[in-house]
């Protein structure tokens, strides 16, 4: 069975923010007001203070949806608008969502977003809207889905050639633009895969491990 997972090497990450921009561009996320409580970013920086005074440092943690294997958000949805698919991705079905925001509140990582109003792109940015991804109307919840449309596209292309898709053909937008290759992506259940190796790395941790949500985004960092 395939289980898609991501590993982010924080010791390599420079905090340039290219992944944030690529994600917004790829997934039709409008620019929004910076600093607003209503701005939507599927991938964003979480600023974490580390160490003890006076020796503190600030770390920028790129936060996509953690794609839990045991997702607290999917369980509480009353209408199956969000669910864990057989390959471990937790997508949101926008035309199914009733906008109750229960899943948003149930997510311990605060990784889900709600469309308070209809999306707006200042001209001429609307020309950049991707036809592969639906534009969400107001009143529904949305979230990172590991660029699921890219998986579908890669599968389709492979099927046209009459062959099985290779795991390396499916690459989310954030990973593609990372200039220092801090993001790795692949199949967690394939022992040969890069990500499976990264997950076994002694530097690997997941966020809020104690909640038992089993996230599939691994953070690699040296313990100091």
């Amino acid at each position: 069975m395939t289980r898609w997972a991501m590993a982010i090497d924080l010791d390599v990450c420079t905090g340039c923010g290219a992944c944030l921009v690529a994600c917004a561009q790829e997934n039709n996320i409008p620019p929004g007001e910076p600093g607003s409580e209503r701005m939507i970013r599927w991938m964003e920086f979480l600023t974490v203070e580390e160490g003890e005074y006076p020796r503190t440092s600030t770390r920028m943690l790129p936060m996509p949806c953690q794609q839990c294997d045991n997702p607290p958000c999917a369980r509480v949805c009353p209408v199956y608008a969000t669910y864990r698919n057989p390959e471990g991705i937790v997508p949101q079905i926008y035309p199914q969502c009733i906008g109750c925001r229960y899943c948003v509140n149930a997510c311990p990582y605060t990784c889900k977003h709600f469309n308070w109003s209809d999306p707006e792109w200042p001209s001429p940015m609307e020309r950049g809207i991707s036809p592969d991804v639906s534009v969400r109307s107001r009143g529904v919840t949305e979230k990172c889905n590991f660029c699921l449309h890219r998986l579908q596209k890669a599968r389709d292309l492979a099927a046209l050639d009459g062959r099985e898709m290779k795991a390396t053909e499916y690459r989310p937008a954030c990973l593609e633009v990372c200039p220092v290759k801090a993001i790795r992506f692949g199949d967690l259940d394939d022992p040969e895969d890069d990500v499976a190796g990264a997950a076994q790395d002694p530097r690997a941790t997941t966020l809020l491990e104690e909640l038992g949500t089993k996230p599939k985004v691994f953070y690699l960092k040296e313990h100091k």
Partner: protein, 529 residues
């Protein structure tokens, strides 16, 4: 064959309706079970849950059919005007007399506020939830607070009324009608606030066609739907004899309405026995249903892993809090009815004393629950819970927290602890404190937990905007508006229950008390009571 008038056929249609609701519910659970099985989801649990719920609904349908046959069978087709004595005459004034200008003015005022609320709703429908003060991470605010609050008022007051009925508390007789009407109307506003909170209210029906049984919100939908039906019946059954008493005394559209709903009641013994049996059954059923609504509305929060919400205390805490706020609302409502409808003879100081005592006991219990909740959090020192507790005790919610403690605990205990102090004025004052305090409690459950996420996201605060506040005020005004229509349409105090109390209550209570004691002393003890 007896001549049947139009009412008979409408009544039969009504029975068909309730039977189809019951069968529809049974079919729905079966269908969801089959669907969920195909998704490899909780299908067995769905079917197991469906058995008691459709059982209860089928029981209601049977009960109504039984009543229809029993009451209809003994009715001889003629409907004599039933006698109302001088004392009861006072109770019918609010229904039969032309409304005073004050009543009309109040109705108009509340209607205008309601209309403003409706305008705010239209603005929200037009512009979406962006017109609220909500944002990230406080995704739930006033609407969910009001949902919990109104639902709580409803099931809390129903629970108190049902317990009094079941335990033969004789003093209940003049407060049941107002309680049941209030429970029914405030339930509607609880459910309404859920719809206000939805981002896509137009997709509400997906809850029924795609319901995921694992979601606590679906448990809420099921519990509230069942409770809604129960609430209507629980209000309606004790209304039958009163409608019969009044059907010749009202004019206009109410005359055929009362004729239709009074089932041909004339008050013969078999009719009364049948009705009392039906009321007993429904009262016994109402208690577990009401408790389940309370538990589920707490579980919506506690089933998530969010700090402070994820707590086993929430189920009973919500039930207790609802009873607490329900009794407080009841006291305020009864005091208003007493002074505006001149019901001094029916709602006596004793009623307020008893309800005030109940309020005092619930206040102490509330304090225990609140203290237990906060003490366990404080002692555990879990960082994510501590940061919320700090906000509640010393941070930006501190003022609201202390106001809540004053309203829910300090004020009621100071005002009601001594028996001498339990006057009408002081119980009403304590109730207002409890009402405000319990609303704040609901707010302090919903908002602070959300405003402090587990991960270090930038801090955020929530201030409700005018649309939310208008909708909240509109809900309260509409509640008052509908209550006024309710007491205009039906007597605010149950005529037949009071009559039954006057005729039989004293003897049966004395006989009951006598039965508590050894048989030699029967005469003296019974007389002393």
């Amino acid at each position: 064959m007896r001549r049947r008038d139009w009412a008979f056929y409408v009544q039969v249609l009504g029975l068909v309706l309730i039977w189809s609701i019951a069968l529809l519910a049974a079919w729905w659970f079966w269908w969801r079970g089959v669907e969920l099985r195909s998704y490899h989801d909780a299908w067995l649990q769905t079917i197991i849950l469906g058995v008691p719920i459709s059982g209860i609904l089928l029981c209601f349908a049977t009960l109504l059919t039984y009543l229809f046959i029993k009451i209809g069978a003994t009715a001889d087709g003629k409907e004599p005007e039933l006698v109302i004595d001088r004392v009861e005459e006072e109770l019918t004034h609010s229904v039969t007399a032309t409304p005073s200008w004050r009543f009309r003015a109040a109705l108009l005022g509340l209607g205008l506020i309601t209309a403003w609320g409706l305008y705010a709703w239209w603005v929200q429908l037009r512009d979406g939830l962006s017109v609220t003060g909500l944002g990230r991470p406080v995704f739930w605010g006033l609407y969910i607070t009001n949902f919990v609050f109104f639902i709580g008022l409803s099931y809390g007051s129903t629970l108190v009324c049902a317990i009094l009925r079941l335990t033969n508390g004789e003093w209940r007789r003049s407060i049941t009608r107002a309680t049941e009407g209030f429970a029914m109307i405030s339930l509607a506003f609880g459910a309404w606030n859920i719809i206000l909170d939805l981002g896509r209210p137009d997709r509400l029906m997906l809850v029924f066609s795609w319901g995921r049984m694992e979601s606590p919100l679906l448990w809420d939908v099921i519990a509230i739907s069942l409770y809604l039906i129960t609430c209507v019946l629980y209000l309606y059954l004790p209304l039958i004899p009163d409608l019969a008493l009044l059907r010749h005394r009202v004019k206009g559209f109410r005359r055929p309405l009362y004729h239709l709903f009074s089932f041909g009641w004339v008050g013969t013994d078999p009719q009364r026995q049948a009705l009392e049996k039906a009321i007993r059954v429904i009262t016994a059923l109402v208690i577990p249903i009401v408790v389940s609504v309370g538990l589920v509305s707490g579980w919506v929060f506690s089933m998530t892993v969010q700090p402070i919400w994820h707590s086993t205390i929430f189920g009973p805490y919500f039930v207790l809090g609802a009873m607490f706020s329900g009794v407080a609302a009841l006291i305020i409502l009864l005091a208003i009815l007493r002074s505006t409808l001149s019901l001094q003879n029916f709602l006596r100081p004793l009623h307020f004393q008893n309800l005030g005592f109940l309020l005092l006991v619930l206040s102490l219990l509330w304090f225990y629950f609140t203290a237990a909740e906060h003490l366990t959090i404080f002692y555990g020192r879990e960082p994510s819970e501590m940061q919320i507790l700090n906000e509640k005790l010393f941070g930006k919610y501190a003022l609201l927290t202390y106001l809540m403690v004053v309203g829910c605990f300090i004020l009621p205990t100071l005002l009601l602890a001594r028996k001498k102090m339990r006057t009408i004025a002081s119980t009403v004052a304590a109730s207002i404190g409890v009402g405000v305090g319990m609303w704040l409690e609901r707010f302090l459950i919903v908002v602070p937990s959300l405003s402090q996420p587990r991960l270090p996201y930038p801090a955020s605060s929530y201030t409700p905007l005018w649309v939310e506040i208008s909708l909240m005020v509109g809900c309260f005004a509409a509640l008052g508006f509908l209550l006024m229509l309710f007491i205009r349409l039906f007597p605010a105090v149950s005529l037949w229950e009071v009559r039954e109390g006057r005729e039989e209550g004293a003897q049966s209570a004395a006989a009951r008390v006598r039965s508590y004691f050894p048989s030699e002393a029967t005469q003296e003890k019974g007389a002393a009571s």
